[in-house]
Symmetry: C2
Subunit: 241 residues, 2 copies
């Protein structure tokens, strides 16, 4: 067996191509194969357009992999109907790696936060334990939302919680006990969350940022004004007391 | 009054100069005045050496401001002995801004996480409400620690908490109820935390990363092996169940 290719999982930031790191640009420029996940909701176009805004894709081999962006823990993988898609993805990656080709996964935001890549990570390593996977951290949408809104997430001894807005159990308790709470994927349950914030007297401590750092960014300080709106998938809510 | 200068608060990432964003490099290259906080524990040298690793500081006006990195909330500012230092900082910044000079604050990691800059932010705006402050988000040490260790912080519907390790109240409860817990500034209380993790049966779910992304990075998977060691100030603990 010849020299194996490497796998790079690269955070490309929240949307503004200039929020890519120098390292991300460098590796994406060098690596010959780029692999973009293609989900129903997010589409591959977002990640690809961020990358294409900075480096030329002309000489690249581009692989688009369609698999639903289901938010399920790895441990439930076996019982999930997308596992065959993951296997397909794994085969494609290993095919390149075994030929000695490096392959990069540009990942929106920061790959350590809710990235779908990790659904295939363990499988890759179980099939090829000597595989080298390098994760390049990036700027998260949460950080970009906070920066755009001019609201620091944590100061001093403050404590923060991050959770999907769709998580209902203990949500109230978390909102009450933490200094800062970040709700991800708030678009699906916005009206419900608004109701809960009203109940807890926290509406005026909350802010919503849609499409942070992009040309279409919206910072919404009056949450009541967007009731009944269809918010974008890339929407983050910051509750800061 | 002529055109005011702008203030940029720029995340320069956790240590590896290549983890600066393209935007950070661009702004730091253009802005004529750079302001480095100089704290007892962190020193200005870290931030300055990261910046100097990428852009030339030759033509820059460099301001080093000494103020203790006390972790106190903004609201307690008045009662704190470092407030005079902040006022000094504010005067220097405003002096440049009023002359129309842009000024940048390179900030380790991500400025929205536990950055000392925000202790002067409100004061700046209260004195000069028309001041334009732009925050450029960066890669946090937390993300870099996670990426280096190859451990994603959150997947699917997981919930995460971030808190200073020195926070004792409810620490046990937080460790028990969240999928992922990040303890910042763990160096001061490591042995105590280790004891708590032993008690909760979580030692093997924890990892410590010292000086993430730097040449001196250490990833410690056996926490018991570093008992009684003096850990660096830039040490993060990830507890991931």
């Amino acid at each position: 067996m010849g020299k194996l290719g490497r796998v790079y999982v690269i955070g490309i930031g929240p949307g503004d191509p200039e929020l890519m790191t120098v390292k991300a640009v460098k590796i994406l420029t060098e690596v010959p194969v780029l692999c973009f996940p293609k989900g129903k909701e997010e589409g591959s176009s977002v990640a690809m357009s961020i990358v294409a805004g900075t480096i030329s894709l002309d000489a690249k081999e581009i692989i688009e992999i369609h698999f639903p962006m289901k938010k399920i823990p790895v441990k439930d993988e076996a019982s999930c109907d997308v596992s065959s898609k993951w296997e397909e993805t794994v085969e494609i990656i290993l095919g390149h790696v075994l030929k000695g080709k490096d392959i990069a996964f540009p990942t929106l935001g920061d790959p350590v936060f809710y990235s779908t890549f990790f659904y295939i990570h363990d499988k890759l390593l179980s099939l090829l334990p000597s595989l080298q996977v390098t994760i390049v951290p990036g700027v998260s949408s949460m950080s970009a939302s906070s920066a755009s809104a001019g609201i620091p997430l944590c100061l001093g001894s403050e404590r923060m919680a991050i959770l999907p807005a769709t998580y209902e159990e203990k949500l109230k308790e978390t909102l009450l006990s933490f200094d800062t709470v970040i709700l991800m994927k708030v678009n699906k349950v916005f009206d419900k969350i608004l109701g809960l914030l009203e109940e807890l007297g926290l509406v005026d401590s909350a802010i919503v940022v849609e499409l942070a750092s992009t040309d279409k960014q919206r910072i919404i300080k009056d949450l009541r004004s967007i009731k009944d709106e269809n918010l974008h998938y890339f929407t983050t809510m910051i509750i800061k007391k």
